[in-house]
């Protein structure tokens, strides 16, 4: 069967041209990134608000693929206050995980690049702008100040090393000065007990395959907490787990957050988990933030049609409905994003101005912001 020149079809020539152009851009960015002995002044910055541990400002992360530029994160801004939990929700492919990888500088290089924007990390007396931090300095930040709990505990532990070694490695790399092996082992056992593993001596010398999913996730959390980071990014920490185990892990995260007083960025697609854990909620759609606010504001008074649809489409125990609401249509192609509101084509409440430019943020309260024309003052919105 001959290939049809339908939608999304690219000739080899066209693809080569795109690849060549992309390489020019990525090479330039890579060169900038790989410089050695970068003076600290270059990536030092100032926090806008000293009560925030992390400020993300107009972040743009693009992937330069051979079929075009994928704008995975396209202008995301939100703040993570000290000691609070911020939940990021959205469907798969909306840029949640890419945001978290950008914060950690763990993007797949050279295709994935932070093109624009600032991520300001509060280090107490000073602040760093993460996209500008060179590789060596970043290695010192990761683990010590900012760390990550990954989605799949099954695949993110190394299967050929014992649990103890994997935790000790982190301590030795980031916090190992002047510590003997016995010190490190004691710290590892302490960590294992902290995350609720009763048989810490036994688990210390086990391999990952000997543990269940919940136990592995506990080990992942122990690794993330090993050096008392101030910001923890949890990327779907409970998605692969059963409800009963999920409840255990969420309890654990909540109690640990209070104990070590750090901020958590919780990324998930489960609105129930967000409601339970988060103080602030950021709703993302197609690489952009569509709504943000405190958990109460978002759940009691959702303003963006996408947020409303997302909540209506999830069946809730104890609330019987005849037919579930389903958002019509699907997410637009990330290579050819429309120039109007990305949600307009699926939106049932669209009004005339929606065909215009992408809407700006409208403040509904001090903390509650939404990017939707329905809430503009001259369109009969509240503010």
């Amino acid at each position: 069967m001959a290939k049809k020149k339908g939608e999304g079809y690219l000739s080899a020539k066209e693809s080569r041209r795109i690849a060549k152009e992309n390489r020019k851009i990525t090479d330039k960015l890579e060169k900038q990134h790989k410089r050695k002995n970068v003076p600290e002044e270059e990536y030092r910055t100032k926090m806008h608000d000293f009560n925030n541990s992390l400020e993300i400002d107009n972040l743009h992360t693009y992937f330069f693929s051979d079929v075009g530029v994928v704008k995975a994160v396209d202008g995301v801004s939100f703040n993570v206050p000290l000691g609070k939990t911020v939940g990021v929700v959205g469907e798969s492919g909306c840029g949640k995980s890419v945001t978290s990888l950008s914060i950690m500088q763990l993007l797949q290089r050279p295709q994935g690049q932070i093109v624009e924007g600032e991520i300001r990390l509060n280090l107490g007396k000073k602040a760093y702008d993460i996209p500008k931090v060179p590789i060596e300095a970043m290695q010192k930040l990761r683990g010590n100040h900012i760390s990550m709990i990954f989605q799949e505990p099954m695949t993110s532990l190394n299967p050929v090393f014992r649990i103890g070694e994997q935790i000790e490695e982190v301590i030795a790399l980031h916090d190992g000065e002047g510590k003997t092996e016995a010190d490190m082992k004691a710290r590892t056992l302490e960590l294992l007990e902290m995350v609720g593993i009763a048989n810490s001596e036994g688990v210390y010398s086990m391999f990952p395959h000997e543990l269940s999913g919940g136990m592995r996730q506990r080990v992942m959390i122990a690794i993330a907490l090993a050096c008392n980071p101030k910001v923890i990014i949890a990327d779907e920490p409970t998605t692969a787990l059963d409800v009963t185990i999920q409840a255990q892990i969420l309890d654990l995260l909540r109690s640990l957050k209070d104990r070590i007083n750090s901020s958590i960025v919780l990324i998930t697609h489960d609105l129930g988990v967000i409601a339970e854990m988060a103080d602030f909620v950021v709703v993302m759609y197609a690489g952009r933030v569509v709504e943000k606010g405190t958990a109460e504001e978002i759940f009691e008074n959702p303003a963006h049609p996408y947020t409303i649809g997302l909540m209506a489409s999830k069946p809730v125990v104890g609330k019987k409905v005849d037919k579930l609401y389903s958002i019509p249509g699907k997410v637009p192609n990330p290579i050819n994003m429309p120039n109007y509101c990305y949600f307009k084509d699926r939106c049932e409440m669209a009004i005339e101005p929606c065909s215009g430019e992408y809407p700006c943020f409208v403040k509904l309260s001090d903390t509650h912001e939404v990017s939707c024309y329905r809430h503009y003052k001259d369109n009969g919105g509240e503010e």
Partner: protein, 348 residues
């Protein structure tokens, strides 16, 4: 009870998988994946099967369809006939009557076959429709599942997760089945796509009077779609009854813990959470007595040694737990008539 029209009757179904080891690869032990499951399924209704991963939900579904080799013990009656006593020819015909939708739409579609072929292969094989009407029929089935006719020539990788799950549903539906096992059909999908697929399954059920066995670990989805619910723990049903009864008045401590673990999308909701300690024990060496006693908050001495018996607490609401010893009636055999059929067929 005799008046009810049961499409499926399962009695004391067991499926053990041998563990081989030692010298000469002897069978050293068995993984008791399904260990005595009994239930009836009425025509045109949906039964939800919930439980943690590893509790034997999927194996139950597959064993009912005779997809995982021979059963170890028990009986599966489909429309009053024992599935495991059928000849291969009878079995072939029966396959059109019962179908399965698999969990992962990304790996259950043959990547080298166009969609029309995936859906139509079995239709042609079983001669469901005459040759000249074949194309028309496939179009109709696809339209029912929300797929366009021009999708026929495309390959699975060109579709999104939700659309692939529609293809899987179309494939199952193309044979005009009466009974479909839905093995976690929405677990791999996003919330908004989940709603589309659940609505589609419900619409199709109304249209074709289908019977579903809906396997899932997502309790909110199960509550939404099922008429009856069975809660499984370590290979056996611990509680079984009408959806409303189970969700409003869960009796078994495991069911209670499972329900309290569901996160509620409301930040002000009160949480009276029963957090279960530890993980599910190995099904190769299940605990003695009540299998749940190692994690149960209300465990008594008796639970450790004695196996509890199934009791009917309310009409149609069964529970297997020592806590309800003095309540309800003991159900020795919720489908005694199954035995008669089995005896008959063995005499033949």
């Amino acid at each position: 009870m005799e008046n009810k029209d049961y499409i499926l009757q399962v009695k004391n179904l067991k499926k053990y998988f041998p563990i081989k080891g030692g010298m000469f690869n002897r069978v050293t032990n068995h993984v008791k994946a399904v260990d005595g499951v009994t239930f009836n399924l009425e025509r045109g209704t949906t039964m939800g099967l919930v439980g943690e991963s590893g509790c034997g939900k999927t194996t139950t579904g597959r064993t009912i369809l005779r997809l995982s080799g021979d059963k170890t013990d028990g009986a599966v009656l489909f429309n009053g006939k024992e599935v495991y006593d059928m000849s291969s020819k009878e079995m072939r015909d029966l396959r059109t009557e019962m179908q399965i939708i698999f969990q992962d739409p990304f790996s259950s579609l043959q990547p080298r076959m166009p969609i029309g072929e995936i859906i139509g292969e079995a239709v042609r094989e079983h001669n469901i429709v005459p040759k000249e009407k074949y194309e028309e029929y496939i179009d109709e089935v696809m339209a029912n599942c929300g797929l366009q006719p021009f999708h026929k020539d495309r390959y699975p990788h060109e579709f999104s997760g939700g659309q692939r799950q529609r293809i899987c549903i179309a494939r199952a539906l193309a044979l005009n089945p009466e009974f479909i096992v839905c093995d976690e059909p929405v677990s791999a999908l996003d919330v908004s796509i989940q709603a589309q697929i659940i609505n589609l399954l419900k619409d199709l059920q109304e249209k074709y009077k289908l019977t579903y066995l809906f396997i899932s670990h997502d309790l909110s989805v199960v509550e939404h779609i099922s008429d009856t619910v069975g809660v499984m723990y370590l290979g056996s049903l611990v509680e079984y009854g009408e959806t409303d009864d189970i969700f409003k008045n869960p009796l078994h401590p495991y069911t209670q813990a499972l329900f309290s673990a569901i996160p509620i999308p409301d930040p002000k909701a009160e949480q009276n959470r029963i957090v279960l300690e530890g993980a599910i024990p190995s099904p190769a060496n299940p605990p003695s007595g009540c299998k749940f006693h190692t994690r149960c908050a209300q465990c008594m001495e008796k639970c450790k040694t004695e196996v509890p018996i199934q009791r009917e607490i309310e009409p149609g609401h069964y529970v297997v737990c020592h806590l309800y010893e003095n309540q309800g009636t003991i159900v020795e055999d919720i489908n005694a008539e199954v035995d008669e059929v089995v005896v008959e067929s063995t005499e033949k």
